[in-house]
């Protein structure tokens, strides 16, 4: 079975939600939609307080190519263009608050019928961009950019990422089981855009039902491939290595080895955008962990407040950490005044028993982090440099190659927060290079 070098085997804990069908999260009275929900250049709000909006209406305009708009999740009135804590940065960030009118009416022209197989590639890419699509696995890179490789790059492999290797999460798993045709439609559209004859749909072996279903539904141009169960199997570079045997060069992009990867959920959004012109205003997310009373998979509008989701899932019990994303790469939240974003693949509530909240000790050089690191680094050394702010020296130990998957920190017997130290070093390095550019 296909896999990559290194990696770890944490308990997958998916049984909390992987058999729970997706339910619709009821509409909120007020949505708060972050203006910046993607990796790249910011977007500019184009609505103002008091303005009436319809579901799917543009709320912001992208600025530059690597940028996407956001859309109204329902119909109603713009209450304010305000600020709210951003789940990724932790800082106050601009957002648009929309008071629902309860009608949930689409803006004119959406949904509409389109035939992506007669449309030009540029028109398809424009649809994808106008619908605000970003990578829904959590990285939130604009989808149209990924699907527009420069002419000098020869792309021969399109991989659909159905690995969902983060423990606990089952949103992609449920989507594959409950809405396979939408994903397959999206894959076929992406193949048309990329001008490729076939795609590889990669799914981790812990989802045998999804693998069987996808194999039975897939048309011949889509090859379903089972992956070994190992974290981080779904990390882009590791997935490409598993499927093609090629390593994305240090500092390079997947397209440098002829590969493009899209998450399964993103493919479903591509189908919505290209077949019906429907923008990305909702997603599937797993609300799970032992700290939440009734774990669920919900179909939730972007901008839904966290508080209401927690209530909808029965409330909290002994919560120690509330995380947006999975337990390996997700972000711990300090405020409940936040809302769901396009990249929110999971809302995970861990109890004190599930997570380590104690202190750490000195490195005992056991080498477990070296064995676990899928990037071939020496995380222990980087963590020691992090303690001493030695970012320049860390560069010689390939600091910037770290993908922050967390495998090293998971296995560390001294409980050292290695990823934390690495992020710290990267921040120091960024600050120094910004300073030298400014000078």
């Amino acid at each position: 079975m296909k896999t990559f070098k290194g990696g770890i085997h944490p308990p997958d804990m998916k049984e909390l939600v992987n058999r729970v069908p997706i339910v619709d999260m009821p509409l909120s009275a007020v949505f708060t939609v972050y203006v910046q929900q993607h990796l790249g250049a910011p977007a500019k709000p184009i609505v103002e307080a008091g303005q009436k909006v319809k579901k799917g209406q543009l709320l912001s305009e992208p600025m530059g190519f690597v940028s996407v708009p956001v859309h109204a999740p329902t119909s109603g009135t713009v209450k304010a263009v305000t600020k709210q804590v951003h789940p990724v940065t932790g800082l106050l960030a601009p957002c648009i608050a929309i008071e629902s009118d309860g009608h949930d009416e689409w803006v004119q022209g959406i949904p509409r019928q389109q035939d992506p197989f007669t449309m030009s590639k540029d028109a398809l890419l424009a649809s994808i961009r106008d619908c605000g699509l970003v990578g829904m696995g959590g990285a939130t890179f604009p989808t149209h950019v990924k699907l527009s490789p420069p002419k000098d790059k020869v792309i021969d492999t399109f991989i659909v990422n159905g690995a969902e290797c983060e423990p606990y999460l089952a949103a992609d798993h449920r989507l594959m089981l409950e809405d396979p045709e939408r994903i397959l439609d999206g894959i076929r559209i992406a193949l048309r855009i990329l001008d490729l004859p076939h795609a590889v749909f990669a799914i981790e072996g812990n989802k045998p039902d999804a693998i069987a279903l996808m194999k039975s539904k897939a048309t011949p141009e889509i090859q379903v491939e089972e992956l070994k169960v190992k974290y981080p199997q779904g990390a882009e570079k590791q997935l490409i290595q598993a499927i093609t045997g090629r390593e994305v060069p240090s500092g390079g992009l997947p397209m440098d080895v002829g590969a493009i990867v899209q998450n399964a959920g993103t493919c479903a959004a591509i189908a919505d955008a290209c077949l019906r012109g429907v923008p990305l205003i909702e997603r599937i997310t797993s609300v799970t962990g032992r700290g939440i009373r009734t774990p669920k998979n919900i179909r939730v509008r972007i901008g839904t407040p966290l508080r209401e989701i927690i209530e909808f899932c029965g409330g909290l019990q002994d919560p120690a950490k509330v995380i947006f994303g999975g337990p390996m790469m997700g972000i711990a939240q300090y405020s409940d005044q936040i809302s769901v974003m396009k990249g929110t693949s999971g809302i995970l509530v861990l109890t004190g028993e599930d997570t380590n909240i104690s202190s750490y000790a000195a490195c005992i050089s056991c080498g477990r982090c070296v064995e676990a690191c899928p990037m071939g680094l020496i995380p222990s050394v980087l963590s020691k440099m992090g303690e001493k702010n030695q970012w320049e020296k860390a560069g010689q130990f390939h600091l910037l190659d770290c993908v922050e998957c967390g495998s090293c920190t998971y296995v560390c017997p001294s409980k050292r927060p290695i990823v934390h130290f690495i992020k710290h070093l990267k921040a120091l390095q960024r600050a120094a290079s910004a300073k030298s550019k400014g000078a």
Binding site: E247, P249, P327, A361, I378, V411, P413
Partner: protein, 326 residues
């Protein structure tokens, strides 16, 4: 939402923390320690208890004195005590065991900043310190007898490797050494340090460590393999001067060293290729000392010498980074 913890990802951790590792290494040493108690009786048990307790007390006192955090819960002091005891003659006087414990904990570990920072295996630092300071006590080997045997004081005599060395010195050939069956060192019915005598018990513990993935095969297999290979070549060339490789593998401290001392995580290389080089070096030095050196046994010295080379081995055996354009 009050009282939420905020930290960088990841948010889950393997239950195999440092105390877990130390605890399981101690479990793995128990068969070897029991073999020592079986063959050497109560004195062996005394040495074990004194060493473990002294190491723990000395570490706690030091940390109290320097107002540092207590680290007894990490289990490393207890493990160091146990390893030290297993490297001492069963008849070691109580004061010497305490001196050794103090050397192991203070000179071997704490002066460098505690667990994780020590370049040398603390128990071996203490063993060698005692060997050069108290050569008589450190080479007075009680002979094994059954734990249940009647009788007064135990006899003392040579270890198998010591007997070999004397035969070479006095007669120039090992044929003069008393003949022994390999079954005795396999079971532990020989003279030697209290924890090194039973190859069987130590291999049991070593297999446990391998099965639990606390150690990898690289160091023990490479160390044992190197010793077997080199002694094998010399034995084939001249069996009158050189003992056979099976004897070298099980008649001294090699099994204890290969599975439990050379594998010390803190003082061995971090990558598998580094571990292979490290263990090869341990094997070569052990054989050189045993065959041509002044001491009959070379395991402790070889590991300490290779400990000193770990930083340079680490430097030249970095893992292959992902995404290097070839």
């Amino acid at each position: 939402m009050k009282d939420l913890y905020i930290s960088s990802s990841p948010h889950i951790f393997s239950p195999q923390d440092t105390p877990w590792i130390m605890r399981h290494v101690i479990y793995a040493l128990i068969p070897g320690a029991l073999a020592g108690i079986y063959f050497f009786g109560i004195p062996a048990a005394k040495v074990l208890v004194i060493a473990i307790l002294s190491c723990m007390v000395i570490e706690a006192l030091w940390q109290k004195l320097l107002r540092k955090d207590f680290t007894l819960q990490d289990g490393s002091a207890a493990l160091t005590g146990m390893l030290l005891a297993m490297n001492l003659p069963a008849g070691s006087p109580w004061w010497m065991v305490i001196v050794g414990s103090a050397v192991a904990i203070l000179l071997g570990k704490q002066v460098y900043g505690g667990l994780g920072n020590n370049p040398f295996n603390p128990a071996l630092v203490a063993r060698v310190f005692l060997l050069v300071s108290f050569p008589v006590q450190m080479t007075t080997w009680p002979q094994p007898r059954s734990f249940f045997a009647e009788g007064a004081d135990a006899l003392t005599g040579a270890t198998p490797l010591g007997a070999l060395k004397s035969a070479i010195f006095e007669h120039g050939t090992i044929t003069a050494a008393p003949q022994m069956s390999l079954m005795d060192p396999f079971l532990g019915n020989i003279g030697g340090s209290l924890g090194e005598i039973s190859a069987l018990a130590l291999i049991l513990g070593g297999v446990y460590l391998l099965a639990r993935r606390i150690i990898s095969w690289h160091i023990p297999f490479m160390y044992l393999g190197t010793v077997a290979l080199i002694t094998g070549i010399f034995w084939l060339v001249n069996p009158d001067t050189y003992a056979n490789p099976a004897f070298h593998l099980i008649a001294g401290g090699l099994i204890l060293g290969a599975f439990f001392m050379a594998t010390d995580m803190v003082t061995s290389p971090i990558t598998n290729s580094g571990k292979v080089i490290f263990a090869f070096g341990c094997g070569v030095i052990t054989v050189v000392i045993r065959l041509w050196g002044g001491y009959p046994e070379g395991v402790a010295f070889s590991i300490l010498i290779m400990n000193a080379l770990v930083p340079i081995i680490n430097k030249y055996t970095r893992p292959e980074k992902f995404g290097v354009v070839k």
